[in-house]
C-alpha cells in the first residue's frame, strides 16, 4: 500500500514537472541514448569518419573527367564562379545533414518500434513531439559533425578554400534550415506512424528534395517544373545561403534573400508539420495502432 501511494506520488510529481526544462532534458537524453546505440557498433564510428569523403569522391572524379581541371567556364557563366570543386564540395557537404535530418529523425519512431521500445517511450511524461525533437537533436549533432568532417576533408584533399568570415552567417543559415527541415521530419514521422513501412514514400520524398536542391548545380539547369518545386523547398535556400557564406563570406549578396525565404518557409513547413504530427499521433493512439507492424 505504502509502495503504491509512493509510486502515485512520483507519477504526479513527474506529471507536474512538465515544463520546457523537462522537455529539453528529455530531448537531450534521447540524443545521448542514440549516440550510445551508435557507438555500440565500433565499425559505425570508422565509417562515420570515412563516409563524407567517400560520398564526395564520385562527384569529384566525375567533375575532373568532365572538365579536366579545377575550373569550369560553364559554371562561371551561370553562377559567377568557375571554382566547381568548392561549389560542389560545400553543396554536397550539406546533403549529409539533410539526409540525417529527414531520414534519421523521420524514421526514429519506426526504429523504436522495431526494437520494441516505442510504447515505453510514448508512456513517458513528456510531450510526444519531444521524442521527434530529441531525435532531431541527435541527427543535428551527427549530421553537423559529418558536414564539418567533409568540409575539412575537402580543404585538405581537394584544395577547397573557405571564407572564415562566412562561418557564423553559415551557422545562422543552418539554424534556420533546421526549423524547416524539422517540419518535413514531422511529416515523415506521420507517414511512418500511419504506413509503418512507409520508407519508400519517404525515400522518394527525400530524393526529390535533394534532386531539386542546388547541391552540385544551379537550379537553372533543372526543367521549369522542378525549378518551381525547388524555390518552394527550404533546402534550396539553405544550400544557397550556406555555400554563399562559406565561399564569399560577408560579401555574399544573396544572404538577405536566403534568410527571408527561410523565415517564410520555416513558418509554413513547421506549422504544417507539427499540426500533422499532432493529428496523426492522436489518430494512431485512438486506433491502438502504435505498436502494430
Amino acid at each position: 500500500m505504502t509502495g503504491n501511494s509512493e509510486e502515485d506520488g512520483i507519477h504526479e510529481r513527474m506529471m507536474a514537472r512538465r515544463n520546457i526544462v523537462t522537455e529539453l532534458r528529455a530531448a537531450s537524453a534521447i540524443a545521448v541514448k542514440q549516440w550510445r546505440v551508435e557507438f555500440a557498433y565500433p565499425l559505425t564510428v570508422l565509417w562515420f569518419v570515412l563516409l563524407p569523403v567517400m560520398w564526395m569522391l564520385p562527384y569529384f572524379i566525375t567533375g575532373v573527367a568532365l572538365t579536366g581541371a579545377m575550373q569550369s567556364p560553364a559554371l562561371e557563366a551561370s553562377v559567377g564562379t568557375s571554382d566547381w570543386v568548392s561549389y560542389v564540395s560545400i553543396g554536397t557537404a550539406y546533403m549529409g545533414l539533410t539526409l540525417s535530418m529527414i531520414w534519421g529523425t523521420g524514421h526514429a519512431l519506426r526504429r523504436e518500434q522495431n526494437v520494441g521500445t516505442l510504447e515505453t517511450l510514448m508512456a513517458m511524461p513528456v510531450r510526444r513531439g519531444t521524442l521527434v525533437w530529441g531525435s532531431m537533436l541527435h541527427e543535428l549533432q551527427h549530421g553537423g559533425l559529418g558536414v564539418v568532417l567533409q568540409l575539412v576533408a575537402s580543404v585538405f584533399l581537394f584544395g577547397v578554400s573557405l571564407n572564415a568570415w562566412g562561418v557564423l552567417p553559415a551557422l545562422a543559415i543552418v539554424a534556420l534550415s533546421v526549423i524547416g527541415l524539422q517540419g518535413i521530419a514531422f511529416a515523415v514521422a506521420c507517414i511512418v506512424l500511419v504506413a509503418k513501412r512507409g520508407w519508400m514514400l519517404t525515400e522518394v520524398l527525400g530524393d526529390i528534395m535533394i534532386l531539386v536542391a542546388p547541391m552540385a548545380y544551379p537550379i537553372a539547369v533543372l526543367p521549369p517544373v522542378l525549378q518551381y518545386i525547388s524555390v518552394a523547398s527550404p533546402l534550396t535556400w539553405s544550400v544557397e545561403g550556406f555555400r554563399g557564406c562559406l565561399m564569399y563570406g560577408l560579401a555574399y549578396e544573396g544572404l538577405l534573400r536566403a534568410v527571408m525565404a527561410l523565415v517564410i518557409l520555416d513558418t509554413v513547413y513547421l506549422t504544417i508539420g507539427v499540426l500533422m504530427f499532432m493529428a496523426t499521433e492522436r489518430w494512431v493512439r485512438k486506433r491502438g495502432a502504435l505498436a502494430q507492424f
Binding site: Y41, L43, T44, L46, W47, L50, L51, M54, W55, L57, P58, Y59, I61, T62, G63, V64, A65, L66, T67, G68, A69, S72, P73, A74, L75, S78, W84, V88, M200, E203, V204, D207, I208, I210, L211, M215, A216, Y217, P218, V221, L222
Partner: protein, 297 residues
C-alpha cells in the same frame, strides 16, 4: 511420443527414415529452387517495389547528369578521355550495370540479415540442407528481380533523357552480363559470411557498396581514376563488364577480341570470388554457430 520414451530411457533409437535418408551434400538444388521460389513469391507480393526500384536509381543518379550540364560545357575533355561524346548515354548504361552490383551486395549479401530481421533465420538454418543452397536460392531470386527492376529503370531512363542503345549487340551484352552476375555472386557469398559475423549490416554494406561503386566507372571512364585505382577497378567484375557492355551498347559494334578478353577476365574473377566467397561463408557460418551467435543482433 514413443520415440521420446525410448530416448529418455536411454535405449538405442530405431533407425527412422529421416535419419537414414539424410546425406550431407555440397549443394541441394531442390532446396535452392524452393528458396528462390519463396523469395520470388515474397517479391511479387509487393509489385509496387518493382516500380519504386526502377525509379529511385534515376533520382539518385540524376544529380550527376545535372552536374555535367552545369560544369561540363562542351564535354571536349570528357570525349577525349572516354571516347564517348554523349554523357547521358554513357552514364545511363552505367546505372543499368550498377543495379546488379547493388543487388548482389544489398539483396544477396544481406539476405541472412533480412531473414534475421524477419525472425526466420534460425528456422531456416534448422532445415537439413546445406546453407550454401539457401544462399544460391536467394541469389537466383534476386537476379530475377534485379533484371526486372534494371530493365524497367533502363526503359524509364531512356524515356526521360531521350537516349537509346544499339539492339544489334544485345547478344554479347547479355552474355557478358551473365558472366558478371556469376562473378558478383561470389562476392555476395563473401559479404554474407562477413555480415553473419559482424551483424550490423548498415555500416559494412554501405562501405563495400560505396567502395565498389567508386571503382565501377558508372559516370566516368576508368582512366579518370588514379593509376593505382585503375588496377583495383579491373579486379571488380562490374568494372570489367561495364567497359565492354558500354562499348557494345553504344557503338553497336561487336569486337570479338574485347568480348573474349572480358569473358576470360570475368571467368578468372568468378573462380577467385567463388573460392574466397565459399570459404569465407562456410568459415563464418561455422564460427557463428559454434558460438551460438546466429540469431543475435
Amino acid at each position: 511420443m514413443a520415440q521420446t520414451t525410448v530416448e529418455t530411457t536411454g535405449q538405442a533409437l530405431p533407425p527412422g527414415p529421416a535419419r537414414t535418408d539424410f546425406t550431407p551434400r555440397l549443394v541441394d538444388w531442390t532446396a535452392a529452387w524452393l528458396v528462390a521460389e519463396k523469395e520470388l513469391r515474397v517479391s511479387l507480393r509487393y509489385p509496387a517495389n518493382f516500380i519504386a526500384w526502377a525509379v529511385m536509381p534515376i533520382l539518385w543518379q540524376a544529380p550527376m547528369i545535372l552536374m555535367a550540364v552545369a560544369i561540363g560545357g562542351d564535354l571536349t575533355h570528357f570525349t577525349e578521355l572516354s571516347g564517348f561524346s554523349d554523357f547521358v548515354r554513357f552514364t545511363v548504361i552505367g546505372w543499368f550495370v550498377a543495379s546488379y552490383l547493388d543487388n548482389s551486395i544489398w539483396a544477396v549479401g544481406n539476405n541472412f540479415r533480412w531473414e534475421q530481421f524477419g525472425g526466420t533465420l534460425e528456422s531456416l538454418f534448422c532445415a537439413p540442407v546445406p546453407r550454401v543452397s539457401l544462399m544460391l536460392g536467394a541469389a537466383v531470386a534476386s537476379t530475377v528481380t534485379a533484371t526486372i527492376e534494371a530493365t524497367l529503370m533502363l526503359a524509364f531512363a531512356c524515356g526521360v533523357f531521350g537516349t537509346g542503345y544499339a539492339i544489334s549487340t544485345i547478344g554479347p551484352v547479355i552474355v557478358v552480363l551473365i558472366a558478371m552476375i556469376v562473378a558478383l555472386h561470389g562476392l555476395s557469398f563473401m559479404l554474407a559470411g562477413i555480415i553473419i559475423v559482424f551483424k550490423d549490416p548498415s555500416v559494412l554494406t554501405e562501405f563495400v557498396a560505396t567502395v565498389t561503386r567508386v571503382l565501377t566507372p558508372i559516370s566516368y571512364p576508368v582512366s579518370a581514376l588514379p593509376r593505382w585505382a585503375r588496377w583495383v577497378a579491373y579486379l571488380m567484375p562490374s568494372a570489367l563488364a561495364l567497359v565492354a557492355i558500354r562499348y557494345f551498347a553504344i557503338s553497336g559494334t561487336f569486337d570479338v577480341v574485347i568480348f573474349l578478353q572480358t569473358l576470360v577476365g570475368l571467368g578468372l574473377l568468378s573462380v577467385f570470388f567463388w573460392s574466397v566467397g565459399l570459404v569465407t561463408f562456410r568459415a563464418a557460418e561455422r564460427w557463428t554457430r559454434d558460438r551460438g551467435h546466429i540469431g543475435g543482433f
